[in-house]
Symmetry: C2
Subunit: 295 residues, 2 copies
């Protein structure tokens, strides 16, 4: 079985490297060809175009930035579609629009091939260490074919429904991430203003009903004013834009998520888009004229 990987960026690099490391027969393609050099040196073949990649491989993975990028790689000149046919499968690990995913899947199905949407969470560290969570939408049979290869980089792989469902589940994931980040931001600002020992406060509450991954992992980072990104505000905003577009299409009100989107917008305006998403607290600090970790 020949496996293709399109998009050797911050996420794709680690995922493709894990495929090679697991002993699979891997071919890669990247828009900027130089970025494939490391993988070629460790045994991967390199394709000259997405069409060539899809023609050479049974299953082709994609991981690029946004909806237009997946559309260009799939439907553009020399796109995957040129090399697809019956029996072939595309697995999209990008986080993109669920409705665009349906259209992409239809184009690929028209060529006799199949599509699975499989966005990931866990960041570049998860891609490198093979500990990603993968949310999969598509046919069970298609998922079963891709499974042994996704296991090279995914620790938790969950089938959540038909095509587009993986993208929808990723949006649900992002609503939780930013909602929890807002709660942590408000809580720590109140704790600071109230003169509490912030480390002791986190330790006192994190084991109970107030607990979250965000509090345990980013709370201490906020106290240290360490804004290094696990996931940047700019990327978070790209995903929140998909969330709010999707919620609007589905006529679902998301008042908290919408509030966070506006707060991140203010931070981007201040040039802080490269900070980690836990820097959300800076928007509240600015309003309050108060900085955490200063008392």
């Amino acid at each position: 079985m020949k496996i293709g990987y399109a998009g050797i960026g911050i996420m794709g690099r680690g995922m493709a490297a894990n495929l090679v490391r697991a002993g699979h027969d891997v071919t890669v393609w990247n828009r900027t060809a130089a970025r494939t050099a490391d993988l070629a040196a460790s045994g991967a073949s390199v394709a000259a175009s997405p069409a060539e990649l899809a023609a050479a491989c049974d299953i082709t993975m994609i991981c690029v930035s946004d909806t237009p990028d997946v559309e260009a790689v799939t439907l553009g000149p020399d796109g995957l579609l040129g090399g697809l046919g019956p029996g072939k499968l595309v697995v999209d690990h990008s986080t993109i629009s669920a409705s665009a995913t349906t259209r992409l899947a239809e184009a690929v199905q028209a060529a006799g091939a199949e599509w699975v949407d499989a966005p990931v969470s866990g960041g570049s560290e998860g891609a490198e260490n093979g500990t990603l969570s993968i949310m999969v939408g598509g046919d069970t049979a298609a998922l079963d074919r891709a499974m042994p290869f996704m296991e090279a980089y995914g620790a938790s792989i969950t089938h959540v429904g038909p095509i587009g469902s993986g993208q929808m589940a990723k949006l649900v994931n992002q609503v939780l991430v930013v909602g929890n980040a807002l709660a942590v931001s408000e809580a720590l600002l109140l704790a600071e203003a109230g003169g509490l020992d912030l480390d002791a406060t986190i330790n006192a509450v994190k084991g109970g009903a107030a607990g979250s991954w965000m509090l345990s992992n980013r709370g201490p980072q906020i106290i240290e004013r360490d804004w290094r990104p696990g996931f940047t505000i700019d990327l978070q905003q790209k995903d929140l834009r998909l969330v709010l577009e999707s919620a609007d299409e589905l006529a679902v009100p998301l008042p908290g998520t919408s509030l966070v989107f506006q707060m991140y917008r203010a931070l981007q305006r201040r040039g802080l888009g490269g900070d980690g998403n836990h820097a959300l607290v800076k928007a509240l600090e600015e309003m309050a004229g108060l900085e955490i970790g200063t008392n």
Copy 2:
């Protein structure tokens, strides 16, 4: 060492019972005396008034509903203050105003006694099973004296700062609880509208950056439309009122918490104040004209 317990309600009952079970010499008082019968039958003494309770005991615990209740028990006719003196200690397990706590502590200190604020989280189940989290504000020496007795019902006891800090930490806890509840509500409503398998979606995301106690414990309950309270909306609103008053005094903006307060207000108006706090999702469902668990 003689231990007093004032307030044999839904929380105090379990805490006092654990003190008796641990072999301590316990005296209890309750406004409605009949509610002390079980504890008396299991070996506790019963005092006729808070003043008599405080006079008879070295350390007196309180757990009542709200700020005016603690003020009445402490400063009212036949209140604790009438029986307090040098060497005695009051431990307040109620969740009340941090600024009122400072005034209560001053009144008690004027009589030569000491005050520790020690609100709890973990619900009636935690009180019964002795697994409460206790957030303590006050002198280290006073905390040390109370510690062996609080260990009868507290699994995690954290000193967070001077008098009033325990109350402030509890407010911080509640900001996190309701913020996480809002995130879970928006996420599950989006998942429902997007046609996802909700159980599979929770399982796909709960182990990562989206994870929280609220998602893992109340998410499945929301899917089942099981609104039985771990903590009621009415009690949550009482605590959020304290949060927003305190935040206003401290000039801290809490836009997300404030939004949740308004949503709970709408649910109280619909007569849903006795539902669990995870019924927050009903406010969004009403806006969206969509019910979770129906597709």
